[in-house]
């Protein structure tokens, strides 16, 4: 009974996931299983025995694992410093650290390489084309995920259990290990699993920074699908990808499970820095360098035209170039593309928040039975899947499955925001679930005994704790949508490309100012994101009003 009611609540998200994810992906994968009209799973299995596939899979796994590990190693101390300590400019830094998230990977790849190439400022490190460069790129993008997801849960963590541990003789490190990290485990695992998926499906970073010597499952699928139209092999790799992802999600669900997730939440009140924070500060500085270095290179590049400093690249963003006699061709001015991006991002954001909140609430309510708990866990994991599937598979899947009534959606203007919302959804869910899951159910019960309906109880109890994480995930969704390229570039659109698509177009072609404009547009994209994030930070959730 309860299980059925549960599924009913999750109906809308499930339907959307079904239509916009399950259907296209199965459509695409099944094409690979049917060759010339007959079912041929053998061919798919054959692909999986190729040594190249093994090499690629192995590289994907270890590079993603290392990328995740380093993102955690730098992101966790930074989350501590940025969310638990009062530091000047903290909110600006928090916003700035999210900026990389939206930068187009090609642009970042090029910036990184300009630093790392033999004649570049960091050329002496000899990192160009090495796995170390790839990992650095992965961390550049994803440390902010760790900071946000974990920071949101850390911010309002009750300090008393830590005090209790200290009062029993635990050193700060022991407190961290035995009390704080276990309390944060759901959030840490959440962040880690999302980051792992981002890293494992990284495309531009691997190709650009790896100097073509490395390919990941994602790059293979891209090549097989868009270049060779070898659907069988692509299906094989897609299935492999799905299997790995499902395995990961199961492991993550297990690792997230704590004996008792309930934590007291307090009104956030950051403390001043103390001597014990030095290691965390060091890690934060390293991260800041890793993130701000390439960004600085990028900004510098955007300010140079013809070997001199100028704002010409930025001025050019307003034009299509046709009239001025300048040879850079754009269908629309970059400023228009920015507006398109912002509009799409607003739509994608509210969609993913609505869906994500529903999923997170459904996934975290206390289960009365084991089967109910299992259903909730599966629901929770299901919405992570879009991250683990190649955008190419999804994109072609849209094309071949959503092509006839009643689902003739190929040309729908909603397709782009919905696809982006699906990509953002896991981040929203993963940001909210650890916090919602740690709300002590007895507080809701207290509200109920005072006459509050479940909805009202949620307003009283859940909303205040989830308020800031909700803002954080809104920021995430917004950023994902602003920066999303893979699926967006794939979907048919009219004359309104988003900014990343325009940037990609600019950087892919020769032209006197194209490269500089691409850099300038990227800076605009990142700055817009950081500004929106900062505004969101300032939006103090009204606590204590319900």
């Amino acid at each position: 009974m309860r299980v059925i009611r549960l599924l009913l609540v999750a109906l809308v998200p499930l339907a959307i996931l079904g239509v916009f994810f399950v259907l296209p992906v199965t459509g695409m994968v099944s094409r690979g299983f049917w060759t010339d009209g007959s079912f041929d799973p053998g061919g798919v299995l054959d692909v999986l025995t190729r040594p190249r596939v093994h090499r690629v899979l192995w590289f994907t796994l270890w590079s993603a694992a290392l990328g995740t590990l380093f993102s955690l190693a730098l992101g966790l101390p930074a989350a501590h410093v940025l969310y638990r300590r009062r530091i000047r400019g903290g909110s600006v830094l928090r916003a700035a650290l999210l900026a990389p998230f939206v930068l187009p990977t090609v642009v970042v790849g090029v910036s990184f390489r300009q630093l790392l190439t033999a004649s570049g400022p960091l050329g002496f490190l000899g990192l160009d084309g090495t796995p170390a460069a790839i990992i650095a790129g992965l961390v550049f993008f994803n440390a902010s995920v760790v900071i946000r997801v974990v920071g949101g849960a850390w911010e309002s963590l009750d300090p008393r259990p830590a005090e209790a541990a200290a009062a029993l003789g635990a050193t700060p490190f022991q407190v961290l290990r035995t009390v704080t990290l276990p309390a944060l485990r759901p959030a840490v695992v959440s962040a880690a699993s999302v980051v792992f998926l981002f890293c494992a499906t990284a495309f531009g970073v691997v190709l650009t920074l790896g100097g073509l010597r490395y390919s990941s499952v994602e790059t293979e699928i891209y090549l097989l699908t868009t270049n060779l139209l070898d659907l069988q092999a692509a299906a094989a790799l897609s299935v492999l990808q799905l299997v790995v992802v499902v395995g990961l999600l199961l492991a993550a669900a297990r690792a997230r499970r704590t004996a008792d997730p309930s934590l007291a939440r307090v009104v956030a009140r950051p403390r001043r820095l103390a001597r014990g924070d030095v290691p965390a500060l060091v890690a934060t500085s390293v991260l800041a360098l890793l993130v701000l270095g390439p960004i600085a290179a990028l900004v510098a590049g955007s300010l140079r035209t013809d070997g001199a400093w100028s704002l010409a690249n930025y001025r050019a963003l307003e034009t299509t170039g046709q009239s001025s006699g300048q040879q850079h061709a754009l269908l629309v001015p970059v400023t228009d593309a920015l507006m398109t991006s912002l509009r799409t991002a607003v739509d994608a954001t509210w969609m993913s928040l609505l869906l994500g909140l529903t999923v997170a609430v459904v996934a975290t309510r206390r289960s009365r039975s084991r089967s109910e708990r299992r259903v909730r866990t599966v629901l929770d994991g299901l919405f992570m899947l879009p991250l683990g599937v190649s955008a190419v598979t999804l994109g072609f899947g849209f094309l071949i499955t959503l092509d006839r009534p009643p689902l003739d959606l190929r040309d729908s203007p909603l397709l782009v925001p919905i696809a982006q919302a699906l990509v953002a959804l896991p981040l929203v869910v993963r940001t909210l679930v650890p916090v919602l899951g740690s709300v002590d159910d007895r507080l809701r019960q207290a509200a109920a005994t005072l006459g509050a309906s479940p909805f009202r109880a949620a307003l009283t109890v859940d909303l205040p704790v989830v308020g800031r994480p909700l803002l954080a995930s809104a920021g995430f969704a917004f950023a994902v949508s602003l920066g999303e390229f893979g699926a967006t570039s794939f979907l048919a659109r009219d004359e309104h490309p988003t900014l990343p698509v325009v940037i990609f177009g600019l950087i892919g072609h020769p032209g006197p100012m194209n490269y500089g404009m691409a850099l300038a547009a990227s800076v605009v994209l990142a700055a817009t994101t950081a500004t929106v994030m900062l505004a969101v930070e300032r939006l103090h959730v009204p606590v204590g009003s319900t």
Partner: protein, 329 residues
Amino acid sequence: LTGEDDSGSGSGTAGGGDVVLVTHESFVLPKKLMKQFDQDTGYHLVVRASGDAGTLTNKLVLSQGNPQGDVAFGVDNTFASRALDADVFAPYAADLPPGADTYVLPGDDDHRLTPIDNGNVCVNIDTQYFKGKRAPQTLDDLVDPAYRDLFVLPGAASSSTGLAFLLATIAKYGDGWPDYWTKLMDNGAKLTAGWSDAYEVDFTQGGGGGDRPIVLSYDSSPAFTIDGDHSTTKALLDTCFRQVEYAGVLTGADNPKGAEAVVDWLLSPQVQAALPESMYVFPVDTETTLPAEWASYAVQPEDPYALDPADIAAHRDEWLTTWSDVTSR
């Protein structure tokens, strides 16, 4: 199936309604010209652009019979056979402008694809760097130890530019191409993921001030590196592979008449003239006046390398696999 689907929507025959052009994301033409098309024909041109040429072709193949639009532009000679084999395009014999018949797709006997523009992928060099030195000229020169560690190029698997160069070497060396690549790699050629990487990071005349004076780029590229009255780069015309982009009416189009009008429009003098500055390609119409920089600095090769599209379609997979093996050793 002829594609003359007169049971389709009435808008097609009436010379009104939407006509949908499916194309890749590099498609750009001045807004003015598109408005002009609408005015002249009574159709409303809707552009749906996404992905690159490969993606475009595969999308057309996968949605064969139920296409996303009426007309497609952007399938090139490296992918054309796949599209033709899958019966994506319907016959339409447009009036070709002067010079365009050179670019007609070999084997396209019932006029399914119409050539619109062309360009060549050529090795470019930094003329500043080679001032007073002997510059390379041919593919053979690139494996000369004199040019050790000087060449950077995008890979064939991840970049269409890189693929074109691979095809050039195959056209030149035939079955011996893997040997050539072995030598090329041994001579310190550097592979990058994409064109922008090679050009903007590693090339000495690119944005980043790299350290390699030989790069794989286009015949039109020298027009973008003008310093005063001369270009600082030069395309090596003996190393080129020609890419031709086609347009065609889609099988199963709702508005085949409108689609034909679009093909005609793409061949019109105005559009042909706009191609260089909009999409960095040469028009197929040899009577088009080129922009001044193009006329002076972007020299097209007389006799670029070419391969039979059917050959490419049949062997692309095998060639790329071999290429990956050779280059990753």
